[in-house]
Amino acid sequence: MSNVYNLKREVEKPVRFTGGHRLCAGCGAGVVVAGVLRALDKEDRAVVVNATSCLEVSTFMYPYTAYMDSYIHSAFENSAATCAGVEAAYNALKRRGKVEGTVKFITFAGDGGTYDIGFQSLSGAMERGHDMVYVCYDNEAYMNTGIQRSSSTPRFARTTTTPIGSVQPGKKQNKKDLTEILVAHNIPYIAQTAPIGNFRDLHTKSHNAIYTEGPCFLNVLAPCPRGWDYPMARLAQIIQLAVDTCVWPLYEVEAGVWRLTYIPKKKLPVEDFLRPQGRFRHMFQKGNEWMIEEAQAYVDQKWERLLERTGA
């Protein structure tokens, strides 16, 4: 089989994440999960782990599961430790001749379950070196409980706990750069990606993460039409804008070496990404131009730093 990526061939593989789940139409999370799981080699088994989230409550509602592989959900804040526990069991049982074949361990958690409440569990699991992949599907808020801010929510965004009022312009703080924090863990492979175009970026990075020994981390942008307040049919366009404005750069860090995997042909202004989303609507009101300026300055500064690091 050729190693060249071919979407048509990939989607012909037996499906591991089935339809019929209850995620909203146009939800980025389902696209991410399907895309990551497709990167598993056909003959390999996986155990999928979920943190409590939109994804979990929509894909394993008793008695129906959307996963063809084994699956475990335990709680909101412990999906990394849960994955570590399955991996530990695998090592023990393998040593004792009680399991056969290759099994891969993949966690999916939202940004709340990753940047915030599950952060300790994640950091611990990465430091210990379990052979697992942790995938954060980042929709930049606690969506399952009704769009509350997380430390991943970008500055100025409107959420139900960072509303717009006469003295408050939405969220006050910038988004935490979790991907960089994971880089500081010195794990073998870290990537930031998104399901754009023919999914090559997501696929290749998922495959790398799954088939690199040791703890690997993927941060994947997964827009939420409800929380971001844009028409659900625009998922692909919103992701493309996030990438082309450099709000969500695509890069990877393998064995300490940084590499940009996508450079926009033309770097678009941040307002192109902000404008279609209701959560940023107030930024376009008269008198709030400074918000857009500051948002742009922040993105530019982050992007410059990334260019330096990647030597691009």
Binding site: V47, Y62, Y71, N78, A81, T82, V86, A89, E127
Partner: protein, 396 residues
């Protein structure tokens, strides 16, 4: 084989003999020595357990849940704040019906922070769906840990088991105890063969759903039925254990109860002191007796009522407060169990020993004299009191 071991070392030794698949390890006084001893067994190659040195007890229990669901035998040890940090996961473990074994070395739960013994940690977990078995001494701590897996793993039960011992008093004091041969322990606990597990090749499994109202209650009832079934299983396992050890265990121990009129109901190492008091009073012709609860979950309500039927006055000794404003947790269970008796003994609750405060033989003598007075006059006085406070000369 008789060996001088602390309670912690005895339990760690039982763990070594069992050689479980996975252990989650995190330090907290007074249970810290258990993962320390075990780490040395790992380092020496005496066990081939996957020893996971997590960053918190929360992750320790999370690892155990996942490992057990994956088809492994998982264990851990903790105390006090560590158990409290596991709180949510204790419920997850029980409701997923995962027979994890946890050595709980009891210690007062903050705040203020205190490292000494009482039961406020495990009593806070009493409604989590875990079986709870308490030890009086090092021998029982060792024996209970070995009996835990055959109790929890049987399909009719499939519940996690917490074996509890008193922090410092039992965990750190060295006593001569009888150890079983490792082969005998392995035979006794057998192989762990779950019917379904995550790593089973033929049949993928999904664990931990979002459960909807049309099913949730059925699942909770199954869990409740399992806890009921555990009672008979605990006795069955104890009978098997007696065959290999010669040591007899029940749901509780009755001490001088045949004709007892004035009785203490209590848990753990306090029984040693209380038995000395009972002996002393018996010499003076007082019909004193004692019931030491071994199994708190499932609670042996009917059996306890039978044991206390015909007694005249009972003092329940609670070594945790509970803050119900209506007595401690052991009192609530005991008094409720007595309700169905046609003729009930008078019952009082004495909360004692919080944060490691000592109780002496003389204290028990005072309690028995109060019971004698209650039996004679029918006047109970305050139903629920705290014993041994600095501010009060009292009164028990």
């Amino acid at each position: 084989m008789s060996s001088p071991l602390s309670g912690n070392e005895a339990v760690a030794y039982a763990m070594k003999q069992i050689n479980p698949d996975v252990m989650g390890a995190f330090p907290i006084t007074p249970s810290t020595e258990i993962p320390e001893y075990f780490a040395q067994y790992v380092a020496n190659g005496e066990v081939d357990t996957e020893y996971v040195t997590v960053e918190s007890e929360h992750s320790s229990m999370s690892v155990c849940i996942a490992a057990q669901a994956a088809g492994a035998r998982a264990i851990s040890a903790t105390s006090s704040c560590g158990l409290a940090l596991m709180y949510e996961l204790l419920y997850v473990a029980a409701s997923c019906r995962l027979p994890i074994t946890l050595a709980c070395v009891n210690r007062a739960l903050s705040g203020p922070i205190n490292i000494n013994h009482d039961y406020s940690d495990s009593m806070g977990a009493r409604d989590s769906g875990w079986i709870q078995i308490y030890a009086e001494n090092n021998q029982e701590a060792y024996d209970n840990f070995i009996m835990a897996m055959p109790v929890g793993e049987i399909p009719s039960v499939r519940l996690p088991v917490m074996t509890c011992m008193d922090g410092f008093i039992t965990s750190h004091a060295v006593e001569n105890i009888e150890l079983l041969e490792t082969d005998a322990v392995r035979r006794f606990i057998g192989e762990y063969r779950p019917e379904n597990y995550l790593l089973k090749k033929e049949n993928p499994l999904a664990v931990g759903p979002y459960d909807v109202s049309p099913y949730y209650m059925e699942h909770k009832v199954l869990e409740a039925e399992a806890m009921k079934a555990a009672k008979a299983r605990i006795l069955e396992v104890a009978a098997e254990f007696e065959k290999i050890s010669g040591r007899h265990y029940g749901l509780f121990e009755e001490y001088k109860m045949e004709d007892a009129e004035l009785v203490l109901v209590l848990i753990g190492s306090t029984a040693g002191t209380a038995k000395a008091a009972v002996d002393k009073l018996r010499e003076d012709g007082v019909k004193a007796g004692l019931v030491k609860i071994r199994v708190f979950r499932p609670f042996p309500g009917e059996e306890l009522a039978r044991a206390l039927a015909g007694t005249r006055a009972v003092a329940v000794m609670d070594k945790s407060e509970g803050f119900s404003a209506n007595g401690g947790p052991l009192f609530a269970e005991t008094r409720s169990a007595l309700y169905d008796l046609k003729e009930r003994p008078y019952t009082i609750d004495i909360v004692y020993g919080l944060g490691g405060r000592d109780i002496r033989v003389e204290d028990f003598e005072k309690i028995f004299s109060r019971l004698a007075n209650i039996a004679q006059t029918g006047e109970i006085g305050p139903v629920y009191t705290h014993m041994g406070q600095r501010s009060k000369e009292e009164t028990v």
